[in-house]
Every structure is written in structure tokens, then in C-alpha cells.
Subunit: 456 residues, 2 copies
């Protein structure tokens, strides 16, 4: 087990996992089920099948099957950009002068620029299998929309993306990537849906919001024959697909006899972190190992560190099922000065439950320190990180610095979810000193909490 560890550990294609790991199946106390907002009863597979593909509806409620086989067609697609490298951050360790060993799982080496593709291709596959014509979704800056466009293009499905209008107009690059993959991109709010027309009538000049785009995408999937809705985070099915991140990471570490001490990931809706920690947490839940897990969220949207654990709506429009999660209230919208992603008001139910059980830590960081870490990392490790990913970098660096103080040789693993090539406006703001560190006040948070439905 004393093999020299290379800068980048690439697994062979034959080591690509055959199954996804369903973390909920390992939990004794399960995450709470989704509730039908009308009946307040757990959503059935049948009810969910009206929104999602049948197989995905099944995955959404399955909390007993530990491993779910990855279809061959999805695995073949994975082979175009996976296994993703696990990088030993030799240069970062040296620059920090830390005795810690730092590793990061890099998910940015694909055209969507992030881990989102891992679930997009699965969702597109099951839509194709079911004989659907296409899927609808929403996107903010465009990371998820890009991933889904690529996946749909591969399987010859229509992909209708409702893109927040202000992003559509001001950030045309990701829109063009989506068009390259044949997606139909509509600025939201639009005239194509009832909810869009209503909003346009009420607020004629609005630049849109993610909440509104979700509502349009859901409506469009319901009103058009042969379509279903697809979502890039928060859902159980998404965490399931993203478990491939953690499984590859664990295989790579095991191969070199490396035992992680802590695993760190950024968390917006929780898809990346949930996927990254999946096999490690499963091991821990089985009593076979002990790790520290750290979720990193922006101080401007602090669902875990300052939110409430309660049933809440998943969307601003309050049409989707209720989920029990750490939430800031479905009406909470992070300040416009918040540059990156990780803007979601709640945290996926699995991570919420693990956090509530004390199995996971959470930390919030301010955006200036995040961009400082991003720039530092870019210079020493050569990869320009997405602002989201830089949240994890910031805390990984903090932990490595602690090791320098204490002399401890800990092994730190973090998730580098993607690249920042389409986030240069945010970097520009940072370079020009125009970034602020807005943090919501107690009063602002209370306003969000007031919108949480009183069910309990």
C-alpha cells in the first residue's frame, strides 16, 4: 500500500461503478417523505409519475434498495467523461506549507462544466426508455440547463429550458451552449405558459426568478403530451445518481490505501455533497469507519447553519410537493449581490436529516473570502474553480492551515464540482473590489421563516 500517489488518480473504465449507492437505504432513521401539498399525505409513486418519469418516481421514494444498477446506456455515456480524476493537491499543500494531505474530486472536465451531467444523463435515459418526447426544466445561470441539453441531445429528446430572463439576456454564453446541443431556451417569464403570462401581466418589466422559471417548466411538462419535468438538485433521485462521485472517490482512495479524515463539499440543494459523501457515510452508518463531513454554504443563503428543520415548499410558486428540510422559507431569495450558485432556500432531505442527527457539520462562508480562496487555488493548482466549488476550497484550506498549526497530518478530501469559465463576471466584480459580503439579518430570515407552512 506504499504506492507513490500521482498528481491525478484516474481509474480505469473497468473500475467505473456498476451501481449507484442509495444512501437513504443505509439510514436507520430515514429522511421524511415528500408530502402532497393538498392532502398532506406522503406522495405516492403514482402521484410522482405525473411529474417525473416512472423509473425516477420509483427511485424518488425507494429508501430500502442499497444499490441500484446503472443502465448500460448511461454507463456508456459516463465513459465519455468519467471516471473523473481524484487529484492530489501537491501544489496546494506546498503553497500552504501544511502537513495535511489534500485531495479533490474534479467534476469539471466536461462541457457542462460541472457534476450536473451525472444526473442529467440518467434522467434523460429514463425519459427515453419511457418513450417520452422530451423534458422541460428551468435554469438560472445555466449549468443544469446545459447538462440536461447535452443529455437530451445524446438520446434524441426535446429539451425545453426556461431560463431566468435576466440571465438569458446578460449571460448569453451558456444559452448558446444549450442551443449548440439543440435545446429550446425560453426566457422566463414567458408568454408560453399560464403562470408566465400572469406574472408578465402583474410585473411587465420583470427579469424573472428561479421560482418563476420552475413554475413555468412544471406547467409546460404537465400541459404537453409526452413530456416530464426534470430537476438538477434537491431530489432523492439526483442524490442517487450523484453517488457516482463518491464511489469513484472511494475506489481511488482505497486503491492507494488512503483513509480520509474529513470530506468537504459545497452545498446548495445538496446534490454534489450528497453524492460525494454517499459511500463514506454509508460505511460510517454501518459502523465500519469514522469520518468528519462538512457542508459549506454561502453566508448569504445559510439554510443549514441558520435555517429551520421543517416541512416546506420546494418552489417559490408553491406548486411542488412539500419536503422536510433545513429551510430559509420558500420565499427567501438571496441578495442580488450574491454572485455564485448555491442560492436554494432549502437543503435536500437526506442531508438535512443527517445534519439533524449530528452526523454532518455545516459551515457558512462569505463570498469575498470564497473568491480569495478561488483565486489562490487557480494560481497554485491551475484550475479556475466555479464560485460554488470555491466554497469547499475555502474550508479545505482552512482545515489544512489548522493542520499546519497543530502539526497533524490529516487527509482532507473535497469536491471540486466545476469550472468557473462562465462565471467571469463574478471574478471581474471581485477583481474590481465590487463584491460585498451581505449576510441576511435576523429580521430578513424571520420574514422567510414566516412563510413556512404550519403543519407540525
Amino acid at each position: 500500500m506504499n504506492k507513490e500517489i500521482p498528481y491525478k488518480i484516474y481509474l480505469d473504465e473497468t473500475e467505473l461503478p456498476n451501481s449507484w449507492l442509495n444512501l437513504r437505504a443505509f439510514m436507520t432513521k430515514k429522511p421524511a417523505p415528500l408530502l402532497n401539498p393538498k392532502t398532506l399525505q406522503p406522495m405516492t409513486q403514482e402521484e410522482l409519475s405525473a411529474i417525473f418519469c416512472e423509473e425516477l418516481a420509483k427511485q424518488e421514494i425507494d429508501d430500502t434498495t442499497k444499490y441500484i444498477q446503472i443502465p448500460k446506456e448511461v454507463r456508456d455515456f459516463y465513459k465519455m467523461y468519467r471516471p473523473a480524476p481524484l487529484v492530489r493537491a501537491y501544489c496546494l499543500e506546498k503553497a500552504l506549507g501544511t502537513p495535511a494531505h489534500i485531495y479533490y474530486k474534479f467534476e469539471g472536465n466536461n462541457t457542462s462544466g460541472s457534476h450536473k451531467l451525472n444526473s442529467a444523463i440518467a434522467q434523460a435515459y429514463y425519459a427515453k426508455e419511457q418513450g417520452l418526447q422530451g423534458v422541460t426544466t428551468e435554469t438560472g445561470a445555466g449549468q443544469w440547463g446545459t447538462a440536461l441539453s447535452m443529455a437530451c441531445s445524446y438520446f434524441g429528446l426535446d429539451c425545453n429550458v426556461y431560463m431566468v430572463k435576466v440571465s438569458y439576456e446578460q449571460k448569453p454564453f451558456r444559452r448558446e451552449v444549450m442551443r449548440t446541443y439543440g435545446a429550446k431556451v425560453t426566457p422566463s417569464p414567458s408568454q408560453t405558459t399560464k403562470v408566465g403570462r400572469q406574472i408578465l401581466e402583474e410585473f411587465p418589466g420583470t427579469g424573472g426568478s428561479l421560482g418563476c422559471a420552475i413554475s413555468e417548466a412544471v406547467e409546460a411538462s404537465q400541459t404537453k403530451e409526452g413530456y416530464r419535468y426534470a430537476l438538477g438538485s434537491v431530489l432523492n433521485q439526483v442524490l442517487l445518481h450523484q453517488s457516482i462521485i463518491g464511489m469513484e472517490t472511494k475506489t481511488a482512495l482505497d486503491k492507494y490505501g488512503v483513509k480520509a479524515d474529513m470530506i468537504i463539499g459545497c452545498a446548495g440543494g445538496g446534490s454534489n455533497l450528497g453524492g460525494l459523501i454517499a459511500p463514506f457515510m454509508a460505511e460510517q452508518l454501518e459502523g465500519k469507519a469514522n469520518y468528519r463531513f462538512i457542508a459549506v454554504e454561502p453566508a448569504s443563503c445559510p439554510s443549514l447553519t441558520r435555517g429551520k428543520y421543517a416541512y416546506d415548499f420546494c418552489d417559490t410558486g408553491r406548486v411542488c410537493p412539500l419536503s422536510k428540510m433545513y429551510t430559509l422559507g420558500s420565499g427567501f431569495i438571496p441578495s442580488a449581490s450574491h454572485a455564485g450558485g448555491l442560492r436554494y432556500h432549502g437543503m435536500t432531505s437526506t442531508l438535512s436529516e443527517l445534519y439533524d442527527q449530528g452526523l454532518m457539520e455545516a459551515r457558512s462562508v462569505k463570498q469575498t473570502e470564497v473568491f480569495e480562496a478561488a483565486e489562490y487555488f487557480a494560481r497554485v493548482e491551475g484550475i479556475l474553480p466555479a464560485p460554488e466549488s470555491a466554497h469547499a476550497i475555502k474550508v479545505a484550506m482552512d482545515e489544512a492551515k489548522k493542520c499546519k498549526e497543530t502539526g497533524e497530518k490529516k487527509t482532507i478530501v473535497f469536491g471540486l464540482t466545476g469550472t468557473g469559465y462562465f462565471d467571469m463576471y463574478a471574478y471581474e466584480k471581485f477583481h474590481d473590489g465590487k463584491m460585498d459580503d451581505y449576510i441576511p439579518t435576523e429580521e430578513e430570515l424571520q420574514k422567510g421563516f414566516d412563510g413556512i407552512p404550519k403543519l407540525q
Copy 2:
């Protein structure tokens, strides 16, 4: 030798080449030397050392040493993003229904987004070794400037980039990447140089040109103590460093017992193609193998297919040495409707000489068909290619289609030099049907030829 070939062949770090391959050393009839524009005598190492670092000046004129060792520090940097994958294009083969086997060497998995980094890090290393304070360079859209910024940041060198003003203003993203790496980016023409001030006086509202930016960067390197000039293509030293592309490609093919029939690359100044073909051409020159080599250039800037083989200036400002090359004349500027890179008026002397000796073919392609190939490739192979790289894709696809007609099972290898993430304006033009296929007329070419100095 019947191992199953994976989608991506990743060499181990231990298989990273220890030396660069100096193709000129294998040539019996050598490329013509650079000439001093004043004396018309071959440039000496001493003369070149006033422009470039000493070690690079030495490499520039060395046409006898077959292999030149890669310094350990450069190899360590290479390990952050190399070995680059050689991809078996299974999906493309299937989509085309061709019996051909297609491989591409993908150089886009690094933050500079292209192969340019391979030479940038070498040039920065030698500058550091010589105790210089920094380097100056020019950049158009920013690919080379980004690569050099990353390299300088790694070695703690200043990097002053003169960026064509119109790109600086209209394409701020690569500028911000350069700033992330600490480079000083100056829109050109500027008030910081004599030549810049002259041009601004003559043409107050000009958006600049690459020729002008070169002149400013060269002047700045000459007038500031501790600086040298760096260039990203055309030079012998750059081809030398880029030979790592071809060496890794050959090692990967040899490992699986695959023999290429043809090797295809896009060619602007020739750095990528020169590097890709280096070990294959060397083998051929030694009589040990036989390959077809195809250079692909834009029909709007057709130096090989329609140019003259003559001594010409390397820069528009006519301050740099004279090089014998296929050229359209140093005054030739491709139409503004030309979207991608590959805008250089001449071809590096080594490729020019090989072409003149009939050892290499050349083909020109129009930009609409290039973008059609780019989009097709993006959809089936998942990678969004740079417009430059798509020139090679286009011809590789053409050759694969010929194999479909003839039933021949040829092995096609091409260079995928980079990603198109910062080229979405060009893709937008293509999607909106606003791209034209301008080709210079005979009269326009003649105007360029008239500017070639009459030395021979």
C-alpha cells in the same frame, strides 16, 4: 496487442515524456534559418537572446539535437494537466457509420483551454531560470495570453499582455481569467509604448490589431530591464515544446498496438500540428513508417494552400526577423467575418519546408462547414470544440466518410486543440445564420503578396 481500447487512453504520469522531440534534427533538408531584417544574415543566438531568453534562443536555432530534456520543474507543472487523454471517438464512429477508427488527442482539459500551455510553461521556466522579472506578449482573443499568465503565476513572474483593444472590450472573459492569474492586461494600442502612441495619433479610434499588439509587446520587452518577449506559435522553440502532444499520442497508440494511417491537425501558425506530427514525421523521415499528414487551414486565411513559399516578415510591423515560410504577406489580414483563430499570415518554417518537400498535405475549409462539424461533434462526443480545433474535426469526418464509401478501416488521428467555452459569440453567429464564407479573391491575395520583400 488485442487489448480492448477504452474510450479514453490516459497514460500514467511515469509515461510522461522526459524529453521534447526536435523535429528539425530529423530533417535532411532543414528549414531555412531566420534572417536579420537589416543584414539579411541568419540570426545568431546572441541576436535572438536580445528578444528571447538565452535558453530559448539556443533552442530556436538548434536543428541538430534530436531530443531536448524537459526540465523537472516543467514536468512537474505538466503533471497538473498531463498526460492529456487520447480519446477513441467511438460515438463519432457510430454516428457516422464508418468502419474507420477515429482517435483524437484532447488538449483542452486545462484552464487555458488549449495546448498553448505546453509552451507557455516552458518559456516562463527559462525566464525564471535566467533571473528575469517577467515577460511581455500579445494576445488576440486571449488563448495564448491566458496560458502565459498561468505559467508566469506559477513561477512568480510578471506577465504583461497587450490585448487587441476590440477583444479587450468586447470579450472581457479571457481578460478576467488573465487577471485571475495576476497578469497585467493592457488594451492595445496603448499609451505605454512609442509604437502604440504613434498608432493612436494616426488612428485615434482604432480597435487595434494583432500586428500592432506584437509591436507593442516587443517594444515593451526591449525597453524594460529584466524582460523578454514570448510568443505562442510559429517559432521553432514553440514547436519543440508542443512535441509533447505527439509523443504522448504515439506512446498511447503504441501501447495498444495501433498504427495510425493519417494524422490531421488544424494549422494557424502551426504550433499544434507541428507538435502533434513530430514523432510520427521523425519516424517517417527515418524510413521506419509511412503516414499521411494533413494540415487544415481556414479558406479565409489559406497560407499553405494559396500562399507563396518565401522569406517574409513574421509581424505586420516588420520589426521581427524574416522567416522563410508559406505566406500570404505580412500585410494580409483575414476578413473581419472570420470567427476563429488561425488568422496568421504565415506557416511555421518547419511545416512550410515539409509541405514544400511533399511530405505533408494541406486542405482549406470554409467556416460554415467548420461550425457544422463542431456542432455535430459536440453533440455526439460531448466536447464543445474551439473553432480552431473544429477545422481538424471537419477533415477527420470527411476522411471517415470516405472510408464508409470505400469500406476501408483506416485509423484516423486528429488533434483536438481546445474547447470553445470562450467562443460562444461565434457559435451564436452560426446559430443565428449570420456566418459567412468569405474567401479572399485573387486580387486580394495579390495585394498581400506584393508586400513580401524581394530577397530571393
